[in-house]
């Protein structure tokens, strides 16, 4: 039974990966651009590059990267390579491989996104739950509203404003970069502190905008649960408000939100494109943005797959963890 469940979930995971990889394979090819030529184009327009014989160059790279094969053949090779976890070379950063490019960026994005997503998840859910909880003090219930309004503030504007006032005018916080210019990452405490200080503004511009989303969904959930019989029952049983809030209310609402958390990790990467660019953090978002703009297919595939697999895996893991958290499912 359990084995069958695991097998089904794994199949699901495979299907997710397959469809994501198929989508990302075909979409960039809708345009008839040649990534190699675009690469030289970028060089040319940045200051006058004189590639000797562009067509010869382009042809020789096309051959090297297999871009001159028929599409279905490229697709086949692509799938085989994915199974082998080999995403090939970055067109833009040859001779670096896609894996190298991604691994170089992942730590920056992970540290930024994990912290911001988890923080906004916690703040947002608490505020959301409280705002739907009739017994919460009024000020707590009203504090949620400004955050809801902030969801509309684009992270880029948030970032630009924070930078301009806190960084440029008041000089409280650094104006960008992942750590102070000229430092060498040496794993020391001083370096760690320096790095964290550089993360405050990018983190803030992500958190302020994303708390509202959690408030909304948690609130919706909370309202539904308030009507449930077991909450009414608990109230009639005479349980204290705080106990009901914690044991009946939070616990039942947090479960579905946890799935949302897994999904959110996928979408915040998109916000990271803007925020990392603005703050000059060399993370996944920046790499992806550069890759899209330079038609670096392999890197685009690599990143979209990387994120999809991460999100899907987390969702599946959540499903396995559910029964541990929720007695109802455990008994089924």
């Amino acid at each position: 039974m359990i084995l069958r469940l695991i097998a089904r979930r794994l199949l699901f995971l495979l299907l997710v990966i397959w469809s994501a990889s198929t989508i990302v394979f075909f979409i960039p090819r809708l345009s008839k651009t040649n990534a190699i030529r675009e690469r030289f184009a970028e060089l040319a327009r940045n200051g006058g590059f004189s590639p000797a014989d562009m067509e010869k160059l382009v042809a020789s790279y096309n051959k090297q990267f297999g871009l001159d094969n028929p599409l279905w053949q490229q697709y086949q090779e692509y799938l085989v390579n994915i199974v082998r976890l080999d995403f090939g070379y970055s067109l833009n950063k040859y001779p670096m491989t896609v894996t190298q490019v991604i691994m170089q960026a992942v730590p920056w994005t992970l540290s930024l996104l994990l912290v911001t997503t988890i923080l906004s998840f916690l703040i947002g859910n608490l505020l959301g739950a409280l705002s739907a909880w009739p017994k919460a003090p009024t000020w707590v219930r009203t504090i949620a509203t400004p955050f809801v309004l902030l969801t509309g503030v684009p992270p880029i504007i948030m970032g630009v404003l924070l930078l301009f006032f806190l960084g440029f005018k008041l000089k409280w916080l650094p104006l960008g970069g992942s750590y102070s210019i000229g430092l060498i990452p040496d794993g020391s405490w001083a370096f760690f502190v320096d790095m964290m200080i550089h993360q405050i503004l990018p983190a803030l511009s992500l958190i302020l905008g994303s708390v509202g989303g959690w408030v909304l969904s948690m609130r919706g959930m909370g309202i539904t649960i308030q009507g449930e019989d077991y909450v009414n029952f608990a109230e009639h049983k005479g349980l204290k408000g705080r106990a009901i809030f914690r044991d009946y209310y939070l616990r039942n609402t947090l479960l579905p939100q946890a799935t949302g958390l897994a999904l959110a990790l996928g979408t915040v990467v998109t916000s990271a494109i803007v925020v990392e660019g603005l703050f000059g953090l060399p993370g996944i978002g920046l790499v992806l943005n550069n890759a899209i703009r330079s038609n670096d297919f392999p890197v685009i595939y690599g990143i979209v797959l990387f994120i999809t697999v991460a999100v899907a895996t987390m969702m599946v893991l959540m499903e396995f963890i559910y029964p541990l958290l929720d007695p109802r499912i455990r008994n089924e």
């Binding site: 960039p28 309202i223 009507g227």
Partner: protein
Amino acid sequence: MADISLRIQRPGRLWLTWRYIKRNKSLAIGLAVMLFLIAFTAIGFMVINPKHAYPLSAAPRQAPGLKYILGTDFFGRDLYAAMVVGMWQTAAIGLVAGGLGTLIGVFLGFVSAYFGGWIDTIIKTVCQILTPIPVLLIQVVVAGSLDKRDVTIMVMALIIVSLGWMGTTLVVRSQVLTMKERQFVAVAKLSGVGSMGIIFKEIMPNLLPFIAAAFVVQVFQAVFASFYLAVLGLGPLREPLLGNIIWSAQGQGAFFNGWWWWPIEPAVAMVLILGSLALINMGLDELANPRVRKTE
């Protein structure tokens, strides 16, 4: 006689709605902001010349003042005109993408839940498989791969809708599934109402609040996505979409140069649009859930 019958009549529908809205603060504020935005755009269109939303139509880099209430940008756009046109375009994207997404979602959700069997399995599985794929990421890839001349307002809406219908489908499906089991549907079935009849006469009306909420979510996501694509410079560049205005302001270092009004105005508009949608959504949650519907 007529007088008496009038007196014992229930209060009118409008009056009830009004009373309800007064209790449901989120809905009220959300709708009020939305009405304000609609009025801004509608009145705006009567006042402005849409041509002034495009470059070289006004003196460049003017701060808000008497001549240009919202100022002008680096390229000589009258920002008042640009905001009016941009707001309308943003709304158009939201409504088209949101509407289409909701239609697809409701249709698939219904089909899936009502007919069940292998149809249900397929639709459900496809939705579940597509859900973990980061939609915005794919949209960015799509928009980045298209020929720029092909990216019009409507194409943007279609890009957004192409991967934006799964959520609604799943919500509608689960709601229809629970309703199928409810007594009123069973009664209707027993009394020989056809499946179309059951869908439209019995299930649909009960689903409306959910569909409305799903629609609002869809519009929200569509506006957000279109804005996002535009901010990344992936939208139709000449159009004064709110995201485009911010994108071009960013490109010319507007804050640093002290032209604060240029990026701030579209940002405020965006906050109002998305904020009001979020508030309406909060309000609809209460409406859709009669058990917690506030009583007077």
